[in-house]
Amino acid sequence: MIKLEQLREVSDQVLSGLTADDSLKYRIIQNATSSKKSHSGMAFRPVPVLCCVVALVLASACLLNSLRPVSPAGDSEIRVFAAGSTDSVHTEDKLSDRTILLILKDITPDSIASIELIGTGVVTEPSDCASLLAALQDYAGTVDSVSSDERYDTVDKESIIITMDDGTVYKIADNHPEFDTLLKNMLSR
C-alpha cells in the first residue's frame, strides 16, 4: 500500500510527463510583455482626463433629467422577475408561461446590449445575442413541457440577465441546458 508520505515521489512519477516547458515560458513572457505595454500606455494625461470628467458630468445631468425606472411597476406588465431568487419575489406568484413568452417577444436582437448568465459569462456580440435570444424564445415556446419544479433554478440561483441598449434589464430564471451549452460554446470560441 502506498503511503501519503510518498506523495512527492508518487507525484514525480505519475506526473513526470507534466512539466513546465519552454513553450509555456514563452507564453508567459509574451503575456507579461503585452500587459506591461498596455500599462505603460495608461500614463496619466490631464487634458483628456479633464475632458472625460466634464463630459461625464454633463451626461449624468442629462441622464438624471430623463431617468425612468428600469422596471415598470404596473401590475399588468411584469418586466423583471427572478423566480427562485430572493429579489422580485413579489412578482413570483404572478408568473406564468405566457409571461415568459411575452417578455421574450418584447425583446428584439438589435436592441440587446448583452446577455449574461450569472457565474458563467457575458455575451455582447450582436450575432451571438441574436442566437441566444432565438434559443430562449424556443425555450419559452416549449416551457409548458417543463415542470414548475425544474423550470426555476433554485439550486444555483442562476439567472439569465438580458440588458437592452436603453438600460432595461430582464432577469429570467435559468435551468435550460441548451441555452447553457450554447452560451458556453460562444464563450469558449
Binding site: M1, E5, Q6, V14, L15, A20, L24
Partner: protein
C-alpha cells in the same frame, strides 16, 4: 507533524525570472493540476502566476519564493473552482489523468490511485495535503501561507488522511 520533512535546499539571493521558472514552475503546474484536474487550466494558472511575478515584481523574501508562487497559484485555483463555469464544464466531468514518462508506464496502479484520491479531496483538504505532503511545507508555514490557524491546518490534514484512508481502503496511512 512537520518533522517528517527534510528542509529543502532553498536558493539564496535574489533570483531571476529564469531561475524561478526553472526551479518552481513545474511544481506550480503540478499542484494546480492536482487542484483542478485539467491540464490546460493548470497551465493557465501557472501562466497567471508567473505573469504576476513579472508584472508586479513583488519583493520576495529569500527562501520564500516558492511559498509565494504556490500561494498565488492556490488562490487562482480557488477562484476558478468557485466559478460555476468551471464546475459545470470542466470539473463536472472528472478527467484527472496521470502523465507518467513513457518509461514509467507499468504497474503503477497504486500510485495512480493515490494521485487520483488526492485530486478528489475537497479543496480545503487538498490544499493542505499538497502543501504538506507534496511540497514539504511545515504546518506553521502552511498556516502562514493560507492565513489560517495552525490547529486548522492540523485538523484538515488529519481529516484528509481519514478521507484518503477510506477512499483507498487502506489502513497504513497513519
Amino acid at each position: 507533524m512537520s518533522t517528517i520533512h527534510q528542509s529543502e535546499d532553498r536558493p539564496s539571493g535574489a533570483l531571476s525570472f529564469d531561475q524561478l521558472y526553472e526551479l518552481y514552475a513545474t511544481d506550480v503546474l503540478r499542484v494546480s493540476y492536482y487542484y483542478l484536474g485539467n491540464r490546460e487550466l493548470a497551465e493557465d494558472v501557472t501562466q497567471d502566476v508567473f505573469v504576476k511575478l513579472i508584472s508586479n515584481s513583488p519583493d520576495l523574501e529569500t527562501g520564500h519564493e516558492k511559498a509565494w508562487l504556490l500561494k498565488v497559484a492556490l488562490n487562482r485555483c480557488r477562484d476558478l473552482w468557485r466559478s460555476s463555469w468551471i464546475k459545470k464544464v470542466v470539473l463536472g466531468h472528472p478527467g484527472f489523468e496521470c502523465f507518467p514518462a513513457p518509461d514509467d508506464i507499468g504497474s503503477m496502479a497504486d500510485k495512480f490511485s493515490l494521485a487520483e484520491a488526492v485530486n478528489r479531496l475537497k479543496p480545503d483538504f487538498k490544499e493542505v495535503v499538497l502543501l504538506f505532503y507534496y511540497q514539504g511545507f511545515s504546518v506553521t508555514e502552511i498556516a502562514e501561507m493560507m492565513n489560517i490557524a495552525e490547529g486548522t491546518v492540523s485538523s484538515r490534514l488529519s481529516r484528509a488522511r481519514e478521507k484518503l484512508q477510506k477512499d483507498l481502503k487502506g489502513d497504513d496511512m497513519q
